[in-house]
Assembly symmetry: C2
Homo-oligomer: 222 residues x 2
DNA sequence: TTAATAATTTAGCCTTGACTAAAATAAAGT
DNA sequence: ACTTTATTTTAGTCAAGGCTAAATTATTAA
C-alpha cells in the first residue's frame, strides 16, 4: 500500500504537469508550495519517488512523471473527484466543502467503495467543479475552456468549470448565482484589470472582479 | 487532531473494558493482541496515553480509561458504527464487509459528514450488527443478550446482535439465513459442545456449530 | 517458600516524513 | 564575464509508532 503522502505528491505533480501552461517545468519549489512543505522536504520525497521509478528526476532541473507514477496519480484523482461528486449529489454538500472532505477520504476508500459510488452516480465523467473524472484505465478527457476573464464584450457563454482551490471564492460564486451550466453574457469590461459586468441568466447585470473571472471557465455560445 | 493509532487504541481498550466479562482487567497483552502489535509497542502507547491523561495506568497491572479517553473512544465507535450502517443501507454493502471499510473511514470523516449520514439514516441507535450506536454526547445504551449457544431446547428467539469480528463467519451466518430480526427455534443440542439444530423462520431444521452459536445474541420469545 | 514460567517493561533500533541551517548550483543583472 | 540573488540539495534532527532482545516483575507449581 502506498502512503497518503506519496499519493498526494503524485497527484500534485500530475496537476502541475498537465494543468497550467503546458511548457512549464515542474520544479521542487512548485511542488513544495502546493504540498505546503519546505523545499528540502520536497527534495527528499522526490528522490524517494525517483527511486521507486514513479518519476524522472534531474537534480536542479525538475521532475516528470513516469507511466507508473501517472497511473497512481490518476487513480488518486479519480477517487478524489468521484468522492466530491458523491458528497455533492448524495449527501447534499455545497461545492466549497467537498474538496476538503474528499482530500482525506480519497486515501481511505477501497476499490469496492469506488465502484459502488461510481455506479450510484451513473458512471459520471464530469466532477463537482466541472473537472474531468479519469476512468478506471486512467484515461482522462482533458478539455481546455477559455477563462471568463478573457472573453469578448457582448459574448454569451455557459459556465463549464471552476477552480476548486479557494473555498471562499466558490462560496462567493455560488452567492452570485454562478454555477456549472449557468448562462452569462459579458456587458462591460473595466480597464486596468477592473471588474467585468455580467448578465447572469437574464437577471440584472452584476459586477464581478477579474480575479474571480480568471477562475471560471466557459463554453462560448453562438 | 488525534492520530489514527491513538483512536484505535482507545476504541479497543473501551471494548475490552465494557465488552466481555465485566471484572476482567484490561492488560497490555490483551490490548496488544487486539491491536495486532507486540506487547512492547502496546506498553509504549499505553504510557503515552497515560501521559495524555486519557487513561490510568498501573505498570504490570493494566489500564482503565479516564473520562477524556472514554469520550474519544465513544466518538470513534460512533463514527465506526454510523459508517457501517451507512455502507450497508445506502451503498448496499454486505454485513461482512462493512467493518473493514469503516475501520479506515472512521478516522477520515469530519463532524459534518457524521451529521449528514446520521440524519440520512434517521438518527439510528442500532448498528449493522445490532450494536448500540453512542449518541453525540457519548451516551450508549449497552444491552446484554443471551447467546444462542446458551438458550434452552425448544426455546424460540429473535436474533438481535452478532459479533462482527469474523467476516467469514458473518458470511456463513448470512448464507444460513441468519440475520438481525430472524426468528429461530432450538430443536436439538448435541452433547460435548456439538452442534445445535435450528428451525430458521419456519424452514427445515438446520445444524449450526456451537462456535457460531456463541457469536449470535438473541431475545427470547414467549 | 522457592523455583519455573508467563507477562510486562526497558533499552535500543528502524522507517516515514517532516524540519532548519549550511552548502551547492543555476539564473539574472550589470 | 563576473557577481549577486534565487533555487535546490545536503546534512543533521525530530516525533510517531512500530520492532527485537534483554531485564524485570507476577503468577503458578512443586
Amino acid at each position: 500500500m502506498l502512503s497518503q503522502s506519496i499519493e498526494d505528491y503524485l497527484k500534485i505533480i500530475y496537476k502541475l504537469q498537465n494543468g497550467g501552461a503546458s511548457a512549464t517545468k515542474v520544479t521542487t519549489s512548485l511542488i513544495a508550495e502546493r504540498m505546503e512543505v519546505t523545499a528540502a522536504s520536497a527534495t527528499n520525497m522526490i528522490k524517494k519517488l525517483a527511486e521507486m521509478n514513479l518519476l524522472e528526476y534531474t537534480p536542479y532541473r525538475g521532475v516528470a512523471l513516469k507511466t507508473a507514477g501517472e497511473k497512481i496519480a490518476l487513480e488518486t484523482i479519480r477517487h478524489h473527484r468521484l468522492i466530491e461528486l458523491y458528497l455533492s449529489e448524495a449527501l447534499g454538500y455545497p461545492w466549497d466543502e467537498v474538496d476538503a472532505e474528499a482530500e482525506r477520504l480519497e486515501h481511505a476508500i477501497s476499490e469496492e467503495f469506488e465502484e459502488r459510488i461510481d455506479k450510484m452516480l451513473g458512471y459520471p465523467t464530469i466532477g463537482a467543479h466541472g473537472e474531468p473524472i479519469p476512468n478506471k484505465d486512467g484515461h482522462i478527457e482533458e478539455h481546455t475552456y477559455p477563462r471568463l476573464a478573457d472573453i469578448d464584450l457582448g459574448q454569451r457563454a455557459v459556465i463549464r468549470r471552476v477552480s476548486d482551490r479557494n473555498p471562499a471564492m466558490l462560496r462567493y460564486m455560488n452567492d452570485m448565482g454562478l454555477q456549472l451550466g449557468t448562462e452569462i453574457e459579458v456587458r462591460e469590461k473595466a480597464p486596468f484589470r477592473g471588474p467585468i459586468t455580467l448578465v447572469i441568466e437574464a437577471n440584472n447585470p452584476q459586477s464581478l472582479g477579474l480575479e474571480v473571472a480568471e477562475h471560471i471557465f466557459v463554453d462560448l455560445l453562438k
